[in-house]
């Protein structure tokens, strides 16, 4: 980004994949001055530098294409009043991310660019390059900037301390994602971040300093001048011109905002058959949504290619495992330099030399990068040649690299558990940079401990189990149906368990999509397809009453009209949906003219003649959402109400239509609707949560009182109908959560495996998640997540057999006192009592190796010492501690 200098030959960052150097042709002397220099070629010990590489055209024959070309952050240079190009302390949010990052140009030290001074006051300007038709053509909302600005402000305060003054200047605060509203409230109330509703026009330098002066108007109309040390421009997302070009070449239609055009019911399909889209090119979105779309696109490609599945993949040849029983340990120690990451601090040859003196160590060496492919191959050769039967790698963290080294062991015919890592980077060279001698000593201690442990390691077995190829989807709404359809198209027998009398869920109650598509028509098409599909079995009026088993082998009892059936399945997808909140405020339920959004949709669907007689309509937003009891945004209501307001205006252009709101959250290209509504004369009046509107039926009319935020005065609106945009509340199902051992958050939504990287699956293996049960979302996002859940499920089903971990707990029944602590403490329900009628050890505890995750909770809590954790046995841990004690 030009924040710091780098050389003309470089890797992008330390953890880059692949971790290979690249020549920057535009800055390399060899290329600029035609053959002069070339020092890198002379110095490279492996002869990797090749100046003669030519561009090649490669033709690939593929069954499908997925476009995920991403976006470019908006370049704010065109905003001349912000003087981004001139003032060094005006930075983009992307640049600010780098400044906050420990691997960034300032090593995470928060300083401003002009004078390396620690800022005391920082401001964020929202909507730079978004929601703007003046300086750029991006009238859409970029969806992510409000949230990233809050995150940056909170992290900036973490870096600089609580005295740092952070102010965010915004138009509408759009924290519509899962847990975002709570984060916004915490940022405001706990971290003291100031939120000021104003779009600032100009940034002026303060003469004689590097500070920045701005003028803005507060909500009460007061003009203020304030000076900041640094200003961060929250730049939007936009599609690069070359991507728009590419789309043109491919014959793919784009939207007004140059994003890929998609339809609500086929959210990842481009206008060209066989080409799918995901990521920001599909529309401005955050990481979880990009991950959902990505899996959905994979599912969409899988649906059309399923007959060719497994035809082109290559299988690795399995290496037979060497039996090492009875062999004396022969340990190999590989010490990694990690470039200069370790070797820059720790005396690596000394550590390797020392390792030679340790008992059972037969071989030691040091590598430049142990994780590189050639080193891996070399290691496998050494293991075979030196007949090593235990391996220690002293390098980085097992969290990222253990699987890689274990694979090398497997390739060399060694059981992968005969391995130990010593983390001499993250826990040594990185943290003791200023003390190389002590760091070397620490590395020596860590290696000695690892060697002592590995000598006691034994080969561990992994249980192998077959994955039942049948899927169960719980919930027959739009997300569940999409998941089932995708699974069936990819060849899997799928059962839909629906508690209601028909398929369709909430989509049955919605009039049309914001893109104008008729929902009823599309929905009946989908239901038809589901019912006709031979592989899909629909169970209506049904519920799950018990679940046994685990990933690959679930046994669920389905209760349907008093009849119980047991269904065996390999995976389950939870799509239990949500429903509309029925409020007790605003006189709801006391007058038929005061209704919820879905009740208004019903009138539209029935073409209710009374709609033609309306002269005045009021919409009230955030009814039951964004309040202390329900601190989340329901995501769909702003767009829904605005679309309905437009529909009313179409029926009668003379109608007075008011939308009473707190923040308008028409994220992404939904923003166009908001713009259109304002253009049609729909009046938007903002209210605050502590001064809510009042709704009173008075004779022929309903009187709505609201305080106007510009006039600062109470207005009285006469309305014929009042529509309440009520919250989306999950169908909280604790029983189901218990059956599958999956968690539910305070609001009643299920908690996914990872908020960013695992949005459509649970931490429990074999259980997946989609639709409103995850979080409120519109139809296109529900469908995408249904397909995403299917895709994640297919990656498991396709394996046919799965291996469990070898590092799991095991009981010694002879020592067990049957106290039951392990049974009650295990979060995965792995321990159980052996049946009383069993011949051996009745009533003692046993651990199901498939359910056990090796967390060690039961081991630590067993009062009889009857449980051992394989791979972390007492003698192994004690050996390490004993070796550590030698250090002092």
């Amino acid at each position: 980004m030009g924040l710091a200098k780098r050389k003309a030959i470089y890797v992008q960052y330390a953890q880059a994949v692949p971790l290979k150097y690249t020549i920057d042709k535009a800055n390399c002397i060899y290329f600029i001055k035609k053959g002069k220099c070339g020092a890198c070629k002379k110095i490279c010990p492996t002869g990797a530098v090749d100046f003669d590489q030519k561009e090649e055209i490669v033709t690939l024959n593929v069954g499908s294409v997925i476009l995920s070309p991403g976006f470019a952050p908006f370049d704010p240079t065109v905003f001349d009043a912000y003087q981004y190009a001139k003032l060094p302390n005006v930075v983009t949010a992307m640049e600010f991310e780098r400044v906050l990052s420990a691997s960034g140009p300032t090593m995470g030290h928060l300083v401003r660019a002009s004078d390396q001074k620690e800022p005391k006051k920082i401001a964020w300007f929202q909507c730079v390059g978004s929601r703007d038709m003046n300086k750029c053509d991006n009238s859409y909302c970029s969806s992510v900037c409000c949230m990233y600005a809050i995150k940056e402000a909170v992290i900036a305060k973490e870096h600089a301390g609580k005295d740092l003054d952070c102010a965010v200047f915004f138009m509408d605060m759009r924290t519509h994602g899962k847990e975002f509203e709570r984060f916004y409230t915490t940022a405001k109330d706990k971290h003291g971040i100031r939120f000021i509703r104003c779009r600032v026009h100009t940034i002026n330098p303060v003469a004689g300093t590097d500070d920045l002066e701005i003028r803005y108007i507060t909500e009460t109309g007061e003009l203020k001048t304030e000076i900041f040390d640094q200003i961060v421009l929250s730049v939007g997302l936009q599609i690069k011109p070359e991507i728009a070009e590419l789309a043109k070449r491919l014959g793919i239609e784009l939207t007004e905002g140059r994003f890929c055009k998609t339809e609500t019911f086929e959210p990842v399909a481009t206008s060209r058959e066989g080409i799918f889209v995901c990521g920001v090119f599909q529309g401005p979105k955050d990481i979880p949504q990009a991950v959902i779309d990505a899996s959905a696109a994979a599912s969409a490609a899988g649906e059309i290619l399923s007959e060719a599945r497994n035809t082109l993949i290559k299988h690795k040849e399995a290496v037979t495992e060497t039996n090492i029983t009875g062999e004396r340990p022969r340990i190999g120690v590989f010490v990694c330099r990690c470039g200069i990451n370790i070797a820059g601090v720790v005396d690596v040859p000394k550590v390797a030399e020392y390792a030679k003196t340790l008992p059972y160590v037969e071989f030691t060496t040091d590598n430049l990068y142990s994780c590189s492919q050639d080193t891996q191959e070399n290691m496998a050769q050494i293991i075979k040649k030196e007949r090593l039967n235990r391996v220690v790698v002293a390098a980085c963290t097992p969290k990222t690299h253990e699987p890689l080294f274990q694979e090398t062991l497997t390739n060399a015919g060694l059981n992968k558990y005969l391995f130990e890592m010593a983390n001499i980077r993250n826990q040594d060279s990185w943290v003791h940079k200023s003390n190389p001698e002590l760091a070397t000593e620490k590395a020596i201690d860590l290696v000695r401990m690892a060697v002592a442990k590995v000598a006691l390691m034994e080969p561990l077995k992994e249980a192998e189990l077959e994955v039942n190829q049948t899927a169960v989807v719980i919930g027959g709404g739009i997300a569940g149906m999409s998941a089932a359809k995708s699974l069936a198209k990819q060849g899997y027998e799928t059962h839909i368990i629906e508690k209601g009398k028909c398929l369709g869920g909430q989509a049955l109650n919605i009039f049309r999509t914001p893109k104008g598509e008729d929902i009823a028509e599309k929905l009946s098409g989908l239901v038809d397809e589901i019912t006709k599909d031979q592989k899909i079995h629909v169970h209506l009026d049904s519920a799950i009453t018990s679940v046994d088993g685990f990933v690959g082998n679930f046994k669920s009892t389905i209760s349907s009209n008093g009849k119980n059936d047991v269904l065996e399945h390999g995976i389950a997808i939870i799509a239990t949906g949500a429903s509309a909140f029925k409020p007790s405020e605003y006189n709801y339920g006391k007058d038929p003219r005061i209704m919820t959004s879905l009740e208004l949709d019903k009138k539209f669907m029935e073409k209710d003649p009374s709609l033609k007689k309306i002269d005045s309509a009021v919409f009230i937003q955030c009814v039951g959402s964004r309040e202390p009891d329900r601190l989340y945004c329901s995501r769909v209501c702003c767009t829904h109400s605005i679309d309905n307001a437009i529909e009313l205006k179409k029926i009668n252009p003379d109608m007075n239509v008011y939308v009473l709101y707190r923040d308008i959250r028409t994220y992404g290209e939904r923003e166009y609707l908001y713009k259109k509504a304002r253009g049609m004369g729909i009046i938007f009046i903002r209210y605050s949560v502590d001064n809510k509107p009042e709704v009173k039926p008075e004779g022929e009319k309903i009187m709505v009182g609201v305080t106007d935020h510009i006039l600062g005065r109470r207005l009285s609106l006469e309305a014929d109908i009042v529509t309440l945009a009520t919250a989306v509340i999950p169908n909280r199902d604790e029983k189901l959560a218990n059956f599958f051992k999956v968690p539910v958050n305070d609001d009643g939504f299920f908690i996914e495996r990872h908020a960013k990287l695992g949005p459509s699956e649970f931490a429990t293996d074999g259980v997946f998640l989609c639709g409103l049960a995850h979080y409120p979302k519109p139809i296109d996002e529900s469908i995408a997540q249904g397909m995403a859940a299917a895709s994640r499920a297919v990656t498991l089903l396709a394996r046919k057999k799965i291996h469990t971990s070898g590092t799991i707990a095991e009981t010694m029944p002879a020592v067990c006192s049957s106290c039951g602590v392990c049974v009650s403490i295990c979060p995965y329900s792995a321990p159980s009592f052996i049946e009383e009628t069993a011949r051996f050890f009745p009533g003692k505890a046993q651990i199901n190796p498939v359910l056990c995750k090796g967390c060690g909770l039961c081991v630590a809590s067993c009062r009889s010492g009857a449980i051992r954790l394989k791979g972390f046995d007492n003698d192994q841990i004690f050996a390490q501690i004993y070796e550590l004690s030698k250090a002092v």
Partner: protein, 59 residues
């Protein structure tokens, strides 16, 4: 009429979305070509510092 279906997919762009698509497809039994313009994969996410809500480093 039978037509020949090719069991491979081209993913254009190696950011978080492209990588996730590629992984899902590869793990489902398809051969994947992942095309990336820059020298390494990871896209914009690799330039971010920490991510909400876990504060995990975006790397």
């Amino acid at each position: 009429m039978s037509h020949h279906v090719i069991g491979s997919v081209l993913v254009v762009g190696g950011g978080i979305a492209g990588m996730q698509s590629a992984l899902d497809l590869a793990n489902s039994g398809y051969y994947v070509y992942l095309l990336e313009k820059s020298p390494s994969i990871g896209g914009v996410m690799s330039q971010l510092d920490k991510t909400f809500p876990t504060n995990d480093c975006a790397m």
